[in-house]
Symmetry: D2
Subunit: 345 residues, 4 copies
């Protein structure tokens, strides 16, 4: 199956290239990027020398549509919503890694993203591509809204407890920590080495655009809509997201019992791993892979459930999940091309 | 004034050495360490070559008492409680950087620290050395329990809101993040470079020994005792602690108003700096200094107050605060020897 | 083909596990480690949870020999020389990642490694497993001495120029820089995070045990034996080695010409990539992969050739090269199981 | 004494601010920066909140001259050469941290810096501000060319051996490694966290603009002019430079003997520390301080002297040396305001 990437020059785009190299059924046949068109991808990323030597093109929709059956959009927010309708018209399946089609309520998108929304028709058509939770909606779809990095880690951590009513959907606190690659490859003072190294920063407290995305799925899982308290922090590392979540327990239980229930919930999901009692995941333990590792703890003194969830933001938080969605869409085994072992140390 | 350090070979000990070099009234006159006695401190720490060339001694209480008026204990937990009584008997003032005298309730110490407690008499005699909040108790004391690193960042962040009833003491969540120097200089797999670098880990969820210390002061500030939900994480950096705190607001207010009230609360406290509206502190902005920087945000959607507090764990979280206590005890200006500008970048 | 690993618990061992997971013809069937026998490998390395759940065994040569055809020795120096004879006797092919069989001159081994040498017979039997240069000697061998990390980067950088006489074998200076994983997983002050992070150190100047290994191959390539000036430095990163080499030019040439000649020399070698004019390799561009990237510069002002060579020390400098040797031994395409794209960023 | 800074918003400028805070005789009375004029310095650098709250001004030479007696120029190359003549005319002493006045030969400046040279008169008037070697020329000067970071580390390492003829000035190889702050605060892909972290890069091989500056001083020290082989590398850390130097020995000697001779050479120089036998300096051991630490090794096998020299590039490599020059100019003890202990760990 021939596929293409728009936004190939960013970190999500280049990670798609890496993962697709190892995919037995998908063939990369089109690379576009506005900022670097005309150049070889290996000039932009010397680690690809001898691996992928394709030239990056200025997007031409007709040409693209003639070369591929499915397009990945690894573009910043506000771009794909204007491109995707034309691709859908030509029968091209679209997997969008940006936030443009994630929120069913277009007004919410406009409020949090400060862009004009996509058409309501396409918003409703888009499937939210978190296969572990919404697999059924993905199958048969032609437009996938690939989830954000923080929402992926958060929702996989919360889903079993929310869906089963073990925790209340009210009063959830999510403390997110991210490596710097989440900010993309564009140089800025905020991602300058001297400002980030040996430093930890809080940012966008209570105002991150992933908040409504998380709330939308919490509502779907629990049946009621409640705001969450959500904060984000930058960690001096390149890859990795950790979300530590705090929720009020609704049941009398123990860590042991909940661990078993979490394992059962995810038993047929290759990419979710539940950590044993009294051990906690670390971001490096998923580096380069599509795993989401989860540890939980019943804090009896305060009747809270503490959940720690980690992913590689560039893989399960972006490109890897996009390939997982490609697999789901095609009925291929979900781990096809994604069975890579994390790189450790 | 002649002072000494027991535990001079650890990171807190060597930071005391650095800070005392710049102190106009204190003179370092005794260095002891069991693990490295007989060696020059500059052999253990080549950065001290030409700065401090003293030899580290095996502790001899009589000799020590003859050379100094005040002793800093930079020892692991469980050591100073057995040494300090003899020093007190000889009229030596003691500043203890370990956890041995922080908890008024000895039973709590035994539960969380797994050591036998100090005598109840000495526990009651010890002043909790967080000057910004408990300055009056420190003045005139002969035994100071220097606070833990997480409690310092947490309590300075919570104090204005707790003391004034702007937040509830119930349902407080503290998400702590620490650089690796907090674990000391002893080599272990958990502090091995390959395991920490480009990695973020959660540890001791709900079981960190700083929990009862924080709760004791929350109780003192708010008048009621409630358990907190407290988790800790290791960040791939050497120095710095950030605590992000989430509390239920008890009043209708705005971030602007609370910022002013925080500024007023700390107006005579040299080392606390309140960040302007919509800006957040970063750990590197206090590196090498005794500052505690605080940012706050009223999250209107969930009626929570989010507080971000950062310190350099080795300075305000250990050695710097010990020197600050030295100043308070002697009636010297509190910032004496501590006016150093953070090292940035 | 069934293979095993002795020393499975170290960084080279666990990297062999990762790489062998992706190998189509080799099946991992035996894991041994003295320090962690009886434990699951996934307890020691949680990133392997769900990937490899085998138990680590205490070495039993008979049992091992019954389960595998080829054994990888990922042990510290001084161990494999005493184990390998028994395996050879049983007809097991041995690939040794330690330094025990690399030096043909046993006396040199004793001088630089401070261990008793292996038998001279086995030293002569061992093939030096740097396929790009000594491929013919590897084919048909039953004992492979897998090269050291610094020698791999150094020799691949020097080989074309030495073999063709473009540089003199006299007066070569090699300035090596290594990530910390090269020191293994054993905790020590020298690999403690607080001592390494935001730090660069020189170590073992002129006394590194890789010096005679490099000189032995320089002599093989150039026909004459000359000592090299070799220094090593620790860089605050986990993976990666860079060797910058300085040699006296014997011919009048240009960077452009030499680049072409380097490309020709390595044209049938999948894992060596020559950087284009005026660009230089970076360690991260080979991270997680078996590539060796090389850049060169003719310094006309001083008649020197400057060569920069980078590898991932755990892959091409250890486990990856061992798998490459496995492929060569078996007549499989050399890149089998090793076509992974570097992980970037 | 009132002093000012032009280019206050860069890393060298802000380090000057930090160091001058601790200086007993110098008073900062003027801050200018083109890129951030009108803003508070503490907005640009929140770590200065409460420490320095001055507003950055757009440069006005008359106003500046009325407020200060001495000006530091912490500007990029090509700026100060056009500003300094006007300041000199007004009798203001100038300390220039850029490369504009370091080369006596203006043509060399034009070749390596690609800017028009300063007037020959001013080039000859400028004293090269490396006090340990050229102290006599600094005293009484009105224009100081503060040395580059690599030249400072290199020349302090080479000076004793070159001046005494222990090594040959021919065939010197300098392998430089630098932290990223050397590239300044301007955001670029080359200093983007994701490109630098866990990475080591070579750059500007044989073409760094510090080459003629080093050669000029080697010539002054040895009496003959020879080109050096000089390469530079970027290390994933913020601060610190290490230069490893390789030179041909001209005398039969031992490491012990040379160590004593190095100590004698620098015996009256507060900021140079010679490491004991078989120990080597590390960059973190000088972090935040004005020290230059040097280790040496006689490599008997190749008749080379290996010298390792480290500095904090922002302090001894820029702002600290500028303050040291301020002290020399004024006849104050050279370490005034610079006695800070390195920040370790």
């Amino acid at each position: 199956m021939n596929v293409g990437i728009i936004g190939a020059n960013g970190y999500s785009g280049v990670e798609l290239i890496r993962l697709l190299q190892q995919h037995p059924y998908a063939q990369l046949n089109y690379l576009a990027s506005h900022s670097s068109s005309g150049k070889l991808i290996s000039e932009q990323y010397p680690h690809l020398q001898g691996v992928v030597e394709d030239r990056i093109e200025e997007l031409d929709i007709n040409e693209a549509a003639s070369k591929i059956e499915l397009m990945f959009f690894a573009t910043p927010s506000g771009i794909s919503k204007d491109l995707i309708p034309a691709f859908l018209d030509k029968g091209i399946t679209c997997i969008d890694l940006s936030g443009d089609f994630r929120l069913k309520d277009g007004a919410l998108y406009e409020k949090w993203y400060k862009h004009t929304q996509a058409s309501n028709e396409n918003l409703q058509k888009a499937a939210y591509g978190l296969p572990e939770i919404f697999r059924d909606e993905i199958v048969g779809s032609t437009l996938i809204a690939n989830p954000g990095c923080y929402p992926t880690a958060t929702l996989l951590g919360l889903a079993p407890a929310l869906e089963n009513g073990w925790i209340s959907p009210e009063n959830i606190v999510v403390d997110g920590k991210s490596g710097v690659s989440g900010a993309g490859r564009k140089a800025s003072l905020g991602t300058h080495f001297g400002e980030i190294n040996e430093n930890m920063k809080a940012y966008k407290l209570g105002s991150h655009q992933h908040i409504p995305e998380i709330e939308q799925s919490i509502s779907a899982l629990s049946g009621t809509l409640h705001p969450i308290t959500f904060s984000t922090h930058l960690v001096p590392m390149t890859r990795g997201i950790m979300c530590t979540m705090y929720a009020d327990l609704e049941v009398k239980t123990t860590t042991e019992k909940l661990l078993k229930q979490y394992e059962e919930y995810y038993q047929n999901n290759f990419f979710v791993r539940i950590r044993p009692l009294d051990t906690w995941p670390a971001t490096k333990e998923v580096l380069g892979s599509n795993y989401c590792d989860i540890g939980i703890k019943v804090e009896e003194r305060t009747k809270k459930l503490i959940i720690v969830s980690v992913i590689d933001n560039v893989v399960k938080g972006a490109a890897g999940q996009a390939v997982q969605n490609l697999n789901v869409l095609n009925g291929w085994p979900e781990e096809t091309g994604l069975t890579v072992t994390p790189v450790y140390p």
